[in-house]
């Protein structure tokens, strides 16, 4: 298993009041994303566990783009990957943020 960790300072805290959310399933070509509002300020930590090696740069690019566009400050995001494509990863991260933004 490959574990990747990213730490970002987002532009602002993510809106909403949900403390945790989960979206997706660990299945072939899919992934589960667990979001927890546990970090101070606009910090954001993302940890990925994936059985597929060699795509570190792709993960970094997707995460950088996600943090830039959605500013998920305050969130610890944990991912169990089942070999999802980058577009699926991005979609799940967006869905997860939408759940967390619910009042």
């Amino acid at each position: 298993m490959l574990t990747l960790k990213f730490s970002h300072a987002a532009k602002r805290r993510l809106a909403g009041e949900q403390a945790t959310a989960i979206i997706g399933v660990v299945a072939s070509g899919n992934l589960e994303v667990l979001l927890e509002r546990v970090l101070p300020g606009a910090n954001c930590e993302i940890e990925i566990a994936t059985p597929i090696t060699g795509y570190d740069a792709t993960w970094k690019a997707v995460i950088d783009e996600f943090v830039e566009r959605f500013s998920p400050g305050g969130l610890r995001i944990s991912i169990n990957d089942g070999g999802a494509r980058p577009d699926t990863v991005f979609l799940r991260l967006m869905q997860g943020c939408a759940l967390m933004e619910k009042v």
Partner: protein, 307 residues
């Protein structure tokens, strides 16, 4: 609420375990136990370089169904085939035992089965947990708890899940649901393609699928493949749960003996449907859920006081 009405029609087959639990119960009534943030997950899978799931593929909790307090456990068929393993199984066993031992807790357990059986990476723990679950269900039923199995997911209910379904008070199934112990590929491997051709999907579905299970009495309710369909089936079954006693067991023994007698010479599902007196058995496969449910409720073998 417009969204709720649309969601009620969402496919059970396509939904995740978490979506099924939410869709089956009264809106916003579900409270999860040992949720994903607690990370109660498999201690074994990483040794095989296989990804874990935060809930180990089983969602458990409580809520209300038509206002009635219930426990609920839902297997995630998409994660490792919804398999029984050390953690995923223990969550289900613990839930059933809680109902068994505490009268003040919900005395109804809904098991949303979606599993190919035991997880091979944790096979010994998985086999043990299936045995523990069956024992817990029987003990809970003896203590007056109603345990209802609902089958309509992608993995069906095979192996330990098929055995588990058979120990429940009542079973609901959709057309997409399959219930059996030995899966089609395993039968073909052990007995040859002449015995059972696992690639013949029409054969597999007509044999293991929900319609046949309902007609020959292996399931007590036929659900439309939707949240609303399973909700209606669960509520109907809860209205008439059999007592678990010697009389019920004897009735079950008689039912199974009569079934073997009646269908023993049949070599496929259509020939069994013919024996049941259905005028046009070939038409069953294409029949829609409503017409089929009506037909099934008129068949004597499909409706019984046993289980």
């Amino acid at each position: 609420m417009e969204d709720a009405a649309i969601y009620a029609q969402a496919s059970w087959f396509q939904a995740t375990a978490r979506q099924r639990a939410a869709g089956l119960l009264d809106p916003n009534s579900f409270t999860e136990f040992l949720g994903p943030a607690e990370r109660v997950q498999s201690p074994h899978l990483h040794l095989f370089d296989v990804p874990s799931a935060f809930d180990d593929g089983v969602v458990i909790g409580r809520g209300t169904l038509d206002g009635k307090d219930v426990f609920i456990a839902a297997q995630e068929g998409q994660f490792m085939g919804g398999t029984f393993a050390e953690v995923s199984g223990a969550k289900m066993v613990g839930l059933v035992r809680a109902a068994r031992d505490h009268k003040e807790l919900p005395q109804t357990v809904l098991l949303l089965l979606d599993s190919g059986g035991v997880r091979l990476q944790e096979a010994n723990a998985g086999e043990l947990v299936v045995a523990e679950l069956m024992r817990a269900i029987v003990q809970a039923r003896s203590a007056g708890v109603a345990v209802i199995a609902m089958v309509g997911g992608k993995a069906g209910a095979f192996g330990g899940a098929g055995l588990t379904a058979a120990t429940c008070s009542r079973v609901a199934v959709s057309e997409e649901g399959r219930i059996a112990v030995t899966g089609p590929e395993v039968i073909e491997t052990n007995k040859g393609v002449e015995e059972f051709d696992s690639k013949n999907k029409a054969l597999v579905w007509s044999t293991d699928g929900g319609k046949n299970r309902r007609l020959i009495g292996g399931a007590d309710a036929f659900a439309e493949d939707s949240m609303a369909g399973f909700r209606a089936a669960a509520m109907a079954l809860l209205a008439k749960v059999p007592a678990f006693n010697l009389k019920t067991m004897q009735a079950e023994q008689e039912r199974l003996a009569a079934r073997q007698e009646k269908f023993g010479a049949c070599d496929d599902a259509v020939s069994m449907w013919r024996v049941l007196g259905i005028k046009d058995p070939e038409a069953i496969r294409d029949m829609d859920s409503k017409d089929f449910a009506q037909l099934a409720s008129s068949i004597k073998e499909a409706n019984h006081d046993a289980r």
